[in-house]
Amino acid sequence: MLVLSRKQNEKIRIGSDIIITILGVSENQVKIGIDAPSDVKILREEIFENIKKHTVEASLMSKEIKSSDLSKLSINKLNKPKSD
């Protein structure tokens, strides 16, 4: 791993089109700005790992379960968000 020290408002460039800016530092948190092309996926690591785990489990369960009796169930629809 490459380790660099940066101060507030200083930047790091990755490749030709990704720029990381240190926007602010507090006691236990760093605020980071990222400029990158729109096709670059940027995710907080724990969300990435969660989704990956869920996707792997979904593929395993689809092997295990052949058919489900859904007759006594109805779809749990979500109401429109309040912001509408």
Binding site: L43, S62, L70, K77, L78, P81
Partner: protein
């Protein structure tokens, strides 16, 4: 082309129905080619890898859950379903939807980093 599937036995299909996922699906980046199998009276669509038919993701249309779920023009949007022994426990991933265009045969996955959408949304409620 023929595929041996777990859910439907051996199926035969025309290669023209293959949907291409250029960027793959999170955790399965190496799988680029899928077909979508639907049953006449089923509620799920089965996204099945052509290279490894053991790899199947049950899909459910997001618009049924939420009419104003984030859209991408000309693409239909689905969530990956995690099946369970007790169907009441079946969950839907609302955070990492699959977008499919059946005309251009393109598909991709998007991550919606929004706390409103969970990865384990309960798909069913008891009548």
């Amino acid at each position: 082309m023929k595929l041996k599937t777990h859910q439907f036995g051996e199926i035969e299909f025309d290669e023209s129905i293959i949907v291409e996922f250029e960027s793959g699906i999170l955790g399965f980046d190496e799988h680029k080619k899928f077909i979508v199998i639907s049953e006449e009276d089923g509620i799920f669509y089965w996204l099945t890898s052509v290279d490894e038919p053991e790899l199947v993701f049950p899909l459910f249309p997001m618009k049924v859950i939420l009419e104003n779920y984030p859209e991408v023009a000309e693409f239909e949007v689905f969530g990956i379903v995690k099946l369970q022994k007790n169907p009441k426990d079946i969950t839907l991933n609302m955070k990492a939807p699959i977008y499919l265009n059946q005309n251009t045969k393109k598909g991709f996955q998007k991550i919606i980093d929004n706390d409103e959408f969970t990865i384990d949304y309960k798909l069913f409620i008891e009548n």
